[in-house]
Amino acid sequence: MTPPLETTESTAEVPPEVTLAGASRKAIEGRSLSQIAWLRLKRDKVAIAGGIVVIFLILVAILAPLIVKLIGHPPNEFHYDQVDPDTSLPYGSWGGISWDFPFGVEPINGRDLFSRTVYGAQVSLLIAFLATLLSVIIGVVMGVIAGYFGGWVDAVISRLMDIFLAFPILLFALALVGAMPNEVAGLNGYWLRVSIIVFVIGFFNWPYIGRIVRGQTLSLREREFVDAARSLGARSPYILAKELLPNLVAPILVYSTLLIPTNILFEAALSFLGVGVPPPTASWGGMLYQATKWYTVDPEFMFPSGLAIFVTVLAFNLFGDGLRDALDPRGRR
């Protein structure tokens, strides 16, 4: 792999007369880091496929009400006519799949699995994005401070990260959700639960980002351009914001993308364990949990939510890996 700066260097070495030619001039035009990264990313077919799926999922989540209005039924609406009252199972084979219910229906109450899967994307992505955002904000702030100032600040923050990493998040989440009062800071019900989940996932995952940012900052702060800025009289806030942060964007972006699928899985796990979003809101983890109880008689029930989680996590991971390779090719070993 070629280092990212090589192109610019070679531009400098090219004799001036050659650059005058129209076609080749365009070819050797100076490119920014992001342009180079984009070029690399474009060459990575797998990552692009992942990216397209990610964009598709985001669109599905945003347009869920519209999609469901066009194709399915309201996600919480019961369809008793689709379910045998005495066996609780959907009429018809494959979990009641029909033109009207393309993914089949839930046992007992006949809710439309297509609609619920589509709405499940909303919950999963919303929580995963918000939690990742929270992790990134805390992680970057703490990481930069620790890396830049060093000394006892670094020691304190690093130990703090160790403590957080050693924390049994899942158990803590179970306990916290159970112990939460009905109303906190004016929030209740659905949004309170979403906030708690976002908080738990986001707040306890920041050290992963924090450590990476700290490491990058440690190496960056010794670089010449930082020394130069400092010798010109720049103060710490300026150096942090203008010199260090732009150079940290790449790793932050990459690890955010890789953190999102982890958080999707975490949300699914919480819903699976019964402390996710409250029913009847559809969530993939909750649907999967219900489905595990019916697999002997209605295995189809597992597929929509299970595949949704699988595809989403895979897409984000592929895209994230591609992005990392594109932004930091030397990281690929």
Binding site: N76, E77, F78, Y80, V83, D84, P85, D86, T87, S88, L89, P107, I108, N109, G178, N182, G189, Y190, G274, P278, P279, P280, Q290, K293, W294, T296, V297, D298
Partner: protein
């Protein structure tokens, strides 16, 4: 409460009469007879696969654990059923299919109790030749000691309190506090000789034989009693004794060689297997799988198969022929909390009664395999039961929205209101109920939020906690209640008597009607059985008028009897298989 508890025995002479009368509401499957052809409900009213072949190992598993294996410390219906394998009480229920099982027969005693004319003194004579597992003879003093120790609810916390309620104790608090193994201060029970035991009551109780049936009357040798630790090694008086007992994990029963079947002519115990293995705290889904695979014989806690296994069984004729469906004296219902506005207004409660989708409620419990739509609270087999359909549950099973809206108007909330629905998180049927209620109430503008709580603390900390329910606005609380006994008092008292409401751990989720309290008292002092049974029905009717409870489903349970079981039948006394007659094909 996880398991059905025997909720009450009391109600004076009610029981003896009540039970003999209950055949009228029973099933029509016929009683007696036997069959060896596998068929759905083959063990209901018949002995399925009769056999006298001894030997083999009967394998049982429990999805949780006994409250205690100590006869003086148990309250679960299945524990009482099972206890007869290793304990013998003075009298017991007959091991016979169908309603014959509600008949009391003498066990340790030679005959049922002989009462004085005022029904305040009861005398039992023990049979001769009774021995413990170590060969020492069983005397009436040991029965007296067993009763005495069961009085101490600080040590033996689980059992019922009927002996304290009825015996003329004169301040006696049990041998642990009294520190006297001769029980000189325990004057309520006399033992004039080693064979005879006399109970003195403080008030007449014509149904005292039902107390003599409690496992707390199974003899305990005083010198072997270790209080709370006695459950680690209960000294057997029945046909089996403990070989191993690892609390919380498993135990094994083997034959008690000193049990003499000649001393046990009346109960119908068979004692066929040589060994009985019981695993504890086994995952319920695993239990079902092992049952279907013939790798396990009995799910001992008698909850029936899970909803998912039920769907599997009823959909497969090969499996269904090994299943039995037994109605249970249990009602699944939703309580409306008058502490939470606007449920203090009866019209708002009635709006819910009308709007609720009763068919949806039944679907949540598995359709006709889970029971039938309940129109009122008392289960059908309880004497005094009559159908009281004030809210058109039968004619409009999906709810009557017009009448519901009309009630909302009268309540002053024509556009509806918001409230919360609580349920036990582990129970899928209750979750499905909550979702069905949410859907149906939404149609008349009642917005609801679902609140799952762990079932172990549901009564103590959440729905059964007055302050918590009030502060957290739990307006609708999903619950269920059962009596192992087919008796009005046993079913109703703990869920309708406003005087039993305490700060936490309630089972009455908010019924406060002085009229009902008065009727309960009337019923207890009414000596005429048919009049008393009518009062139970009247209380039920008043309860429906008050609309504190939305009745949901009169429960049935589906049991699975693996192929190799012999002598299987549902006992109407325990509403599950009788455990003392089971055998296994080798």
């Amino acid at each position: 409460m996880r398991k059905t508890r025997v909720t009450a025995v009391a109600a004076g002479a009610a029981l003896a009469l009540a039970l003999s009368a209950c055949g009228s509401g029973g099933n029509d499957d016929g009683d007696g007879g036997s069959t060896s052809t596998p068929a759905f409900n083959a063990a209901v009213g018949h002995v399925y696969n009769p056999s006298d072949t001894k030997g083999g190992t009967l394998k049982m598993a429990n999805d949780s654990d006994w409250d205690s294996l100590d006869g003086g410390d148990m309250y679960y219906g299945y524990a009482w059923n099972f206890s007869r394998l290793y304990l013998r009480s003075l009298v017991t229920f007959k091991s016979a299919p169908g309603k014959e099982a509600n008949e009391l027969v003498p066990d340790l005693a030679e005959s049922l109790g002989e009462s004085s004319s005022d029904a305040k003194t009861w005398t039992y004579k023990l049979r001769k030749g009774l021995k413990y597992e170590d060969g020492t003879p069983i005397t009436s003093k040991d029965v007296k000691y067993a009763v005495a120790r069961s009085l101490d609810k600080d040590i033996l916390v689980n059992g019922p309190t009927y002996f304290s309620d009825f015996l003329d104790l004169q301040g006696y608090a049990g041998p642990y506090k009294d520190k006297d193994l001769t029980m000189a201060n325990f004057k309520a029970v006399d033992t004039p000789d080693d064979q005879t035991i006399v109970f003195h009551l403080k008030k007449p109780f014509a149904g005292f034989d039902y107390l003599a049936m409690l496992p707390a009357t199974a003899p305990v040798p005083p010198e072997k009693d270790t209080g709370t630790k006695y459950k680690e090694h209960v000294v057997a008086s029945g046909p089996y004794m403990f070989k191993t007992n690892e609390l919380g994990k498993s135990f094994t029963l083997v034959r008690n060689e000193y049990y003499d079947a000649k001393t046990d002519p009346d109960t119908g115990r068979k004692a066929l297997p040589d060994e009985i293995d019981v695993d504890l705290n086994v995952n319920q889904a695993d239990i079902d799988k092992r049952l279907l695979a013939n790798d396990l014989d009995v799910a001992v806690s008698a909850l029936g198969v899970t909803a998912e296994t039920r769907a599997q069984v009823v959909n497969d004729p090969n499996l269904k022929q090994y299943a039995d469906s037994s109605p249970q004296p249990r009602t699944w219902f939703t309580a409306m909390n008058a502490d939470v506005a606007p449920f203090d207004n009866e019209h708002c409660r009635k709006a819910v009664m009308y709007a609720a989708d009763k068919e949806g409620y039944l679907r949540a419990y598995g359709g006709k395999n889970g029971g039938e739509i309940a129109t009122n609270m008392m289960p059908t087999m309880i004497p005094g039961f009559r159908e009281i359909d004030l809210y058109e549950a039968k004619s409009k099973p999906n709810g009557d929205l017009d009448k519901a809206k009309d009630e909302l108007k009268q309540c002053g909330k024509p556009d509806g209101f918001s409230t919360n629905i609580s349920y036990r998180a582990e129970r899928d049927a209750e979750k499905a109920t909550a979702e069905a209620l949410q859907q149906s109430l939404d149609k008349i503008g009642i917005k609801t939020e679902l609140k799952p709580y762990p079932q172990s603390d549901y009564g103590k900390l959440y729905a059964g906690n007055v302050d918590y329910s009030k502060n957290n606005g739990l307006g609708l609380k999903i619950y269920g209640w059962g009596a192992d006994w087919n008796d009005g008092f046993g079913f109703l008292s703990q869920i309708v008597d406003s005087r039993v409401i305490r700060p936490a751990g309630n089972t009455n989720f908010g019924v406060k009607d002085p009229k009902i309290d008065q009727m309960l008292d009337d019923a207890l002092s009414e000596l005429d059985e048919s009049k008393r049974n009518k009062i139970w029905g009247d209380i039920d009717e008043q309860l429906m008028k008050d609309a504190y409870y939305l009745p949901g489903v009169w429960a049935s349970t589906l049991f699975y009897r693996p192929e190799r079981l012999t002598n299987v039948f549902i006992s109407d006394a325990y509403n599950t298989y009788d455990y003392t007659t089971l055998g296994v094909q080798k």
